[in-house]
Amino acid sequence: MRVVRVQRGDFDAAAEAAALTAGRVDVGAVVTFVGLCRDDGGHLAALELEHYPGMAETEMERVAAEAEARWPLAGVVAIHRFGAIRPGEQIVMVAAASAHRAAAFAAAEMLMDYLKTRAPFWKRAIQVDGTSRGWVAAKEADDSAAERWA
């Protein structure tokens, strides 16, 4: 089972994770990660996420397929939102289900590391005082994290 979605609206992470194991008795581990919008000490009013329609889905499918090829997974989920997202709201989720926890943990981590560096999304940070609407800079640490899986 593979679920890959790019959407403006929110998602139900618990329901998505539950769907991975519904009706199955061979799954021993589900690892779910949810990325949230934080307020950076009260400075951030919202994030605006731009994406490349079409390519975003394609890249997320590619990343999910790489995880499936690498570990014995019963299922994967990758969902990413775009548009305006306020502090406290969900931005992204990945989940991986497997017979054993090692594969599920590793797959979920790889999914996020690859998604951050390969899926075409760009964040703009809107400050509370309205002074800045700057693009968030890419972090070298994210590239290093993704390179671990190469």
Binding site: T58, H80, M112, R118, P120, R124
Partner: protein, 80 residues
């Protein structure tokens, strides 16, 4: 197609272009666009940070353009 600050600097989200045959690679195209105007020169001033995709797949700057239908330029991605 242009995204994020590349889009803002160029001043448009997409356009149809017809470069000469001498423009064979992504790097050639960046060079060709950069001399079309100050907006392009500004967008592509730091060539090493510019990412490119051909027909919705990531490519390096030495990738050939032959057969490409949709080319996109954008900054390093910051999703997740």
């Amino acid at each position: 197609m242009y995204f994020a600050w590349v889009r803002e600097r160029v001043g448009k989200a997409e356009e149809v272009i017809d470069p000469p045959a001498s423009v064979a690679t992504v790097a050639d195209l960046i060079g060709w666009l950069s001399v079309r105007g100050e907006n392009y020169a500004h967008a592509f001033e730091r060539v090493s940070v510019i990412r490119a995709a051909i027909d919705r797949a990531h490519v390096k700057h030495d990738a050939p353009l032959a057969g490409a239908r949709e080319i996109a330029f954008f900054p390093p991605m910051t999703g997740g």
